[in-house]
Symmetry: C2
Subunit: 291 residues, 2 copies
């Protein structure tokens, strides 16, 4: 059994490296080949094409950015669908459309190839430490087959339900996280404008019933003036649009989500997309504020 890994970005690179270091027989592919050098040095086979990787492997893990990227990796001419043998399994760690994931699984089933959607949370920190949370959607058999490998870089692996449900759970996660980012942005803004010391506000509020992971960790980054991305505004914006799509299909109206979409869209328009989520408050115009 050889493991394939496609997509050696900020998340995929450390994830794939965990597999290589665990002693598995790993082949990797990345559009920009240079990013595969550390993996080659650690013992991975570096493939020149997706077709080559598909011919070598029977379990392929994908970690790219968005729905069209996953579709392209699998279904473009010369992609995985052309090269994988019957009985192979694709595990997709990207955060993409739940509905599209179901479509991909359906098309792959016709080729005898299994599919598990397995979006992750925990950011680059979780990827490096091998402590990601992974939300898997797929059949019992496929999830059981993916689990021991995924567990190498995950602290928590949950089988949510059928294909697509991993992505739905990730949607829910990104919605909740987005509202927590809004709470951080508005809390700091209120404190700054009303003359409260933001460090005191961060400490006092974070220690009680209004505390959250995001308030604590991203608030600390804000106080240090660190706007570097643990998670980029542009990616959270993409995810929130996935949530919105699912809501629209279900006739579900979530006013908080609507507000988030407005703010994240504006943030990206104003050039804040490459900053970390903790910088969302910059969409507010008060430039005198510490935010």
């Amino acid at each position: 059994m050889r493991i394939g890994f496609v997509g050696l970005g900020l998340m995929g690179s450390p994830m794939a490296m965990h597999l290589v270091r665990a002693g598995l027989d790993v082949a990797v592919y990345n559009r920009t080949a240079l990013r595969a050098e550390p993996h080659r040095e650690a013992g991975a086979v570096v493939c020149k094409s997706l077709g080559e990787l598909g011919g070598l492997c029977d379990k392929i893990f994908i970690c790219v950015s968005d729905t069209p990227d996953v579709e392209s990796v699998i279904f473009d001419p010369g992609g995985l669908a052309d090269s994988l043998a019957e009985g192979a399994l694709i595990v997709d760690h990207s955060t993409i459309s739940p509905s599209a994931s179901r479509g991909f699984a359906h098309r792959l089933a016709g080729l005898g190839v299994g599919f598990v959607d397995a979006p992750v949370s925990g950011g680059t920190k979780g990827a490096h430490e091998g402590k990601l949370t992974v939300m898997m959607g797929g059949s019992e058999r496929d999830v059981a087959s993916a689990r021991p490998i995924v567990s190498i870089y995950a602290a928590k692996v949950s089988h949510i339900g059928p294909v697509g449900s991993g992505q739905l759970m990730k949607c829910c996660n990104q919605l909740v996280a987005g509202l927590h980012v809004l709470a951080l942005a508005e809390g700091f803004r209120f404190a700054g404008r009303l003359g409260l010391d933001q460090a005191t506000a961060h400490e006092v509020i974070g220690s009680g019933a209004a505390g959250s992971f995001i308030w604590k960790h991203w608030g600390a980054q804000l106080l240090e003036g660190n706007l570097n991305p643990g998670f980029k505004i542009s990616l959270h914006r993409k995810d929130l649009h996935l949530v919105l799509e699912e809501c629209q299909k279900s006739g579900l109206d979530l006013p908080g989500l609507k507000l988030l979409i407005e703010l994240y869209d504006r943030a990206v328009e104003e050039g804040l997309g490459e900053l970390g989520d903790q910088a969302l408050g910059r969409v507010f115009k008060d430039q005198q504020l510490r935010l």
Copy 2:
């Protein structure tokens, strides 16, 4: 030195009881005298009027509901301002208007009476366990004088700044908490409508970067179908209007706050005010949901 305590409601009653049990010389007053019986049995002097209490005590702690209640306790004919001796100190644990607090302090200063605003967080659970968080605004001297007594029922006592700043910090806290309640409401609603198991969503999402105190604790209550108030929707609504007042005075526009005001107003109009904050999602119309 005798300690006075005014307002033996859900919060004030256990707070006053902690002082009595600590062996302090405590006098209490409550509009409904019956609620003072447990304190009498524990050794407190029960006063028949605010004038009587004001004549007996030099440090008075107030815990009532809203700005007009505090104003009435202090400044109505026969209230504390009429009976307190020069050099006395009032510590107000109610959550009320920061600006009004500054006004009260100013009027009391003319009588030689000190004032500290000292709103609390931690709910009835924190009050019973003596583990409240207290945010104090006032002069160094007044705060130092209040601190040893407040510490009897608090796990954390912070001196935020001058009079009014305790209330401002509480405003900030209630804003952040409100957005976390919205995250809980929308997260559960999304999960329920999109066919995810809400208990799984609660567990998976709560263990990662989207976790919060409110998601964890109030989400668990939601899953049990427990909508009893640790903190009432109607009180959170009142607090959010205090936040809005302060924002309007500062020309500060917070879109998340605006949305919260809309939802909490609607919740109270629809008769949800006496339920706990965890029931906010009930304002959404999908009655088939578990929310």
